[in-house]
Amino acid sequence: MHRHFDDELQSLKEQILRMGGLAEEQVQGALRALVERDSDLARKIIENDRQVNTLDVAIDEDCLRLLALQQPTARDLRFITTAMKISTELERISDLSENICERAIELNEEPQLKPYIDIPRMANWALKMVKDALDAFVNHDAELARKVCRDDDFVDDLTHQLFRELMSFMVENPQTITRAIRITFIAKYLERIADHATNVAELVVYLVEGKIIRHTHG
């Protein structure tokens, strides 16, 4: 039996994917603005955050409407509540990209402290996690979602490594402190982006299996 409701759910899914695509572009753009020292691009990325915010609100409104009018149950219910939460996670990812751009603009006003090597590695790893989490969402793939959760450890390790390195810069030469702190912030933002990807992945496991695995490292 065809349900009109299914069309609504499909369009909700497409909105989440559109938002996911935008969030990925935000992270990619922020990374480029930093590495290529392109402050104009950074400002453009900051501006683009609005689109993500608009989608976040639209998705919330759609989910609330479907909850109220369709009184969904079982997997429909899990899908809608998950979509609401994923949209919040994606919005945060875009916010963090905006923060990276703000730090990039500041960094671009001074000579480059060191070549960016670990930051792009972290960013690409975090991006892959976001992408995998969204793929897991589309394909109802709990296995891939669990892999994303495991991948988070790698980003955490890289963050700590980078902290240690920047610390040594600061100890050796206090002139570097401002820049090193800004880069430290960026590392933290990327680490948070990976955390949000992990949250999305945990939500996907709930969507598919009905199991809540967050806070359990399950």
Binding site: M1, R3, F5, P72, T73, A74, R75, L77, R78, G210
Partner: protein, 271 residues
């Protein structure tokens, strides 16, 4: 006779369903036949005391048939036959020494269409106790008041207890039937689509009532209204073509059902 593959119901562990006390009602491998046609297939179920249990499923799935097995109302149908064990507090409901009248006193029932007697409100409620020999006026008054309060009707009718029951609205008549059932102090109240003829406000009153009633007795409700089952019941059984497909706590049935058929039914994908 219909033949169909045996499909095992996904039934949660009894320990999860009835923490502590023994189940109020336990069904073991219950089959039911209307003549040659089988209406229930190997139903296994444990119904916890002082909770609301809902039976859901499409028309003809056997949920009402099962409900009517629980007070032996099906005995009245020619050619009807029950197999398996149906235990009420561990007692075999179909045992040779069971007094059916006594059983029905313990297991009250309310139907889809309210069916008050064409008598005064008071006499409707006092009917059962009087049948059991109650004559003391003040004792009867107390039972009538208590039962009407239990059914959430007292405030609306206390000044016209001797008016005809037929002067009441549909929702009030249904609550009067509940009061009439409560008057003989049953352990269990069976409700077969008790709200399907009522407007949303009358329905809400009955649903609210269930939360109070279950403090005193065990309620089993058959409903086509899934949202109603979701709102009022603690446990839900989903029936399909005479089989209990899944029985679990209501939250699980409506958020993470185990069986695909349950999922399809509660999400409206059925058919």
């Amino acid at each position: 006779m219909l033949r169909r593959p045996t499909i095992n119901a996904v039934v949660a562990q009894p320990a999860q369903l009835a923490p502590g006390p023994a189940p109020k009602i336990a069904l073991n491998d219950v089959n039911f036949f209307y003549g040659a046609s089988q209406a229930l297939f190997k139903v296994n179920l444990q119904i916890p005391a002082n909770q609301v249990t809902a039976f859901i499923g499409p028309s003809g799935c056997g949920k009402s048939t099962l409900l009517r097995c629980l007070n032996r109302l099906n005995d009245l149908i020619e050619g009807a036959r029950v197999e398996g064990k149906l235990l009420l507090d561990g007692m075999d409901m179909y045992g040779p020494h069971v007094d059916v009248t006594d059983l029905r006193k313990r297991v009250g029932m309310v139907f889809q269409k309210s069916n008050p007697f064409p008598k005064p409100i008071y006499d409707n409620v006092a009917y059962g106790p009087r049948l059991q020999g109650a004559r003391d006026r003040s004792a009867l008054d107390a039972i009538v008041e208590e039962s009407l309060k239990g059914a959430g009707l007292w405030e609306e009718v206390k000044d016209r207890l001797h008016a005809s029951a037929l002067s009441l609205s549909g929702g009030q008549q249904q609550r009067l039937c509940i009061a009439r059932a409560l008057a003989v102090k049953p352990d269990i109240l069976l409700m077969d689509e008790p709200c399907s003829a009522l407007d949303p406000i009358a329905t809400a009153k009955i649903e609210e009532l269930l939360f109070d009633l279950k403090k005193e007795l065990t309620v089993i409700i058959v409903t086509h209204n899934m949202q109603q089952a979701a709102r009022v019941s603690d446990h839900t059984g989903f029936f399909l073509m005479g089989e209990l497909v899944e029985f679990s706590d209501t939250k699980t049935i409506f958020t993470t059902p185990k069986d695909r058929r349950t999922e399809d039914y509660v999400t409206g994908r059925f058919g």
